[in-house]
Amino acid sequence: MSWGSLDAFLAMGGYGLYVWGSYAVTALAIALEVWLVARRGAAA
């Protein structure tokens, strides 16, 4: 799969909002969980 340009990659064929909205929120949620667990581990 070759995208040609960064713009094309970010646009995701017009579905950029949906695709990146999915990946970004997933990444944030996982980062939040890792942070919470690390904090809990340090506090306990």
Binding site: V19, S22, A44
Partner: protein, 256 residues
């Protein structure tokens, strides 16, 4: 001499039963975390590479389908973790082992996280393909109930200060909720839903391109490894706080 709170596991001559005691499991979990973390990172990176640079554009859905690489693994994980959580909870109910309830508690937030991710990515996928963020159909509704079961389990356990009673009440709720998992899984067959049927099943060839399937399986593997790593880290924190007055942890703190 046996300490108060030592369960059968600690003194057992069967090695895997000995691991069922928090005291023995605590250092073992600590040693396993880095391995599962690296496996999760490596398979996640490989999965993302396949998802965005190898898997072709879908003929019907264009690039919107790329949400599948998180949506399906997250949905699988949310159901699987619930079964494992209920299994640990049930084991604790039957065998009265201290570690079981802690394991169930450690899995619940990660299960809730994956349910949320499945619902969130589902909404973002539904909008461009179905024209709506949400419908009250069987698959979506039963997955939402799964999220509420996880949250209810966490809230119930948090509301009961005594750990033994808390574990017991949580176990009963977890076991009652298990009934929801097959409902989610088979909902697309039992009811006429907007949600599509399974693209991957054990009984027939997958209805998708090999690269798409490979990306999805890599991401599913990453989700597994991540879940194990983060649950082990959480169970260690739970063991630390629940057993803080026990001799073995006091000795460890004194040595540190």
């Amino acid at each position: 001499m046996r300490e108060p709170g030592d369960d059968a596991g600690a003194g057992s001559t069967v090695w895997w039963l000995r691991l069922a005691s928090p005291q023995a499991f605590f250092p073992l979990a600590g040693r396993m975390i880095p391995w599962f973390t690296w496996l999760a990172a490596a398979s996640g990176a490989a999965g993302l590479y396949v998802a965005f640079f190898v898997a072709p554009t879908d003929a019907q859905q264009g690039e919107a389908y790329r949400i599948i690489f998180i949506h399906v693994p997250a949905a699988w994980m949310s159901m699987f973790l619930y079964v494992v959580m209920a299994g640990w909870a049930g084991l604790g109910l039957v065998l009265n082992t201290r570690l079981s309830g802690m394991m169930a508690s450690a899995l619940a937030p990660t299960g809730a996280l994956f349910s949320f991710i499945a619902l969130w990515t589902g909404a973002l996928w539904g909008k461009p393909t179905w024209g709506t963020w949400w419908v009250w159909d069987a698959r979506l509704t039963s997955e939402l109930i799964l999220l509420f079961l996880y949250l209810g389990f966490i809230a119930l356990k948090a509301a009961i200060p005594d750990p033994v009673r808390s574990d017991r009440a949580g176990a009963i709720l977890a076991l009652l909720g298990v009934v929801n998992v097959p409902i989610i899984y088979f909902s697309v067959q039992w009811w006429n839903t907007l949600h599509q049927g399974a693209s991957v099943s054990l009984t027939r060839a997958p209805s998708m391109a090999a690269a798409m399937l490979a990306g999805m399986l890599l991401m599913a593997f990453a989700a597994w490894m991540y879940s194990i790593a983060v649950s082990l880290a959480r169970v260690r924190a739970i063991i630390r706080s629940r057993e803080r007055e026990m001799a073995w942890l006091r000795a460890q703190r004194a040595a540190a």
